[in-house]
């Protein structure tokens, strides 16, 4: 039996709700279309039953669309979201994308625009039936698919890919991969690093024809090499993984899951706090991990809630710089929190970049 999709429409304008509800009900997949005229009610509906897609306006009284997005993206990371708005300000468009929406759509003003929107929504629903996970941009695709598509069509573009707090770029010129950049890596190393990310978001940006070329291998060769490197890395990881986590407060053994993270330059201590607060933390190089874990959880929660209040989007990283050491803190709803300490002589930018890299390695 095929799954019936549920769409939730959020707009403070009752006429709009009625119009779009009717329009979306006529889609070939015949989705159930629910409506809400306030952010609070939309969140309550999302809590009560699973939805495939949320279509939301931005400008609404009390809780605006960006505030709704901040909460919804955190609580329902797999929910597809389309912003449908009359607000054409680039700042809001950029902020909506930064908060992880799948598409930003101007409210339809003509029959052709309505048709385009219908096609787009139907395509989203179709993707949900045929594929899971992958990279989220205009639609869900694997990263290898995306790169192959760009290369086969002899396109020129810059792929901007982000996974959590870390991001990378791949430059494609006339179907050839000419350069890549991710965290501390450049060129082929960066390309391989990006391909090791299991999920994330992508944006297709305009080509930069004058960008210098650092990669000279063919795209297919690079993809093959990267796949091989990934296999090797998985093998090494499986061999290195120690069974189970240690009790909170006990320094991790050399072969623990923290060992690969501790090898990054300048790292002085590490503390991982699982999303389930009752589960054991794991630490390395800290004398008082229990106390630090309590503080780190509270600080992260405070700063995250502050971001929601301000409408600033998800908290990517918090970092502190002191006379004795520096530290950085990043979180992921599924995995939990990671706090890392760094040598006090390390420059700020290096601390932030290294933390991004460590965090990506940890969550993947």
């Amino acid at each position: 039996m095929s799954k019936k999709h549920k769409i939730l429409l959020l707009d403070d304008d009752e006429h709009m709700l009625e119009l779009y509800q009717e329009l979306l009900r006529q889609l070939p997949s015949k989705p159930e279309v629910h409506v809400s005229n306030s952010g609070a009610r939309a969140i309550a509906l999302l809590e009560s039953e699973p939805f495939t897609l949320l279509i939301t306006d931005l400008r609404m009284p009390k809780m605006d669309g960006l505030q709704v997005l901040a909460i919804v993206r955190r609580k329902y990371p797999h929910l597809r979201i389309i912003v449908l708005t009359g607000v054409l300000d680039e700042e809001y468009r950029s902020r909506a994308y930064a908060q992880g929406v799948d598409m930003f759509w101007q409210k339809a003003g003509s029959a052709e625009e309505f048709q385009l929107l219908r096609d787009c929504v139907e395509s989203f629903l179709d993707r949900e039936v045929h594929g899971e996970g992958g990279f989220r941009g205009m639609q869900s695709k694997s990263l290898v698919d995306l790169i192959q598509l760009e290369c086969l069509s002899q396109s020129s573009a810059v792929l901007h890919i982000s996974q959590g707090a870390v991001s990378g770029r791949i430059w494609v010129q006339d179907g050839e991969i000419i350069d890549a950049m991710a965290a501390n890596f450049t060129g082929e190393e960066a390309f391989k690093e990006i391909l090791s990310w299991k999920s994330g978001h992508f944006e297709l940006q305009p080509a930069e024809p004058d960008h210098p070329r650092t990669i000279h291998h063919s795209a297919q060769g690079l993809l093959l090499d990267s796949a091989q490197a990934l296999d090797e890395r998985r093998g090494q990881q499986a061999a290195a993984d120690a069974p189970g986590a240690t009790e909170a407060g006990v320094a991790a053994p050399v072969n623990s899951t923290l060992a690969p993270l501790a090898r990054f330059e300048g790292v002085e201590f590490l503390l991982t706090m699982p999303a389930d607060e009752k589960a054991a933390c794991e630490s390395w190089g800290l004398e008082n991990p229990r106390d630090v874990a309590t503080w780190a959880r509270a600080a992260h929660q405070r700063l995250r809630q502050l971001g929601e209040k301000v409408g600033a989007g998800p908290l990517a990283q918090a970092s502190g710089f002191g006379l004795h050491w520096h530290w950085a803190l990043s979180g992921n709803d599924q995995k939990g929190l990671l706090c890392a300490g760094f040598r006090r002589t390390m420059p700020k930018e290096k601390v932030e970049q290294t933390m991004k890299h460590i965090f990506t390695k940890w969550i993947s």
Partner: protein
């Protein structure tokens, strides 16, 4: 033909705050260059959050003098100052994104 009249103003949407302000050890705002359009309660909440993070860190020997909180579209930078802090609010510049 316009079927639906579009709302194009950004009316009710809240802009990200920008500017700098100082707070004392209790998180009270002492001086501020943040525009008056930004609700005072929001500025106070930011100040209190920052002070609480600094004070909590001191209790567990994680003392530091500068805090940077990076959000998707916004940065908060705070420097400790005699128990209080000076706090800088800086929205990130909008990035170009592909048309849908």
């Amino acid at each position: 033909m316009d079927i639906v009249k579009k709302k194009t103003s950004t009316g009710g949407l809240q802009r990200l705050p920008t500017g700098a302000f100082t707070v004392d050890a209790q998180g009270r705002v002492i001086s501020s260059t943040v525009p008056q359009a930004v609700p005072a309660a929001l500025v106070r909440d930011i100040g209190q959050c920052v002070v609480a993070v600094f004070q909590g860190a001191r209790k567990v020997n994680m003392t530091f003098t500068e805090l940077v909180a990076q959000y998707a579209t916004f940065n908060i930078t705070a420097r400790e100052m005699r128990g209080g802090a000076i706090i800088f609010l800086s929205p990130k510049a909008p990035k170009w994104v592909s048309p849908a």
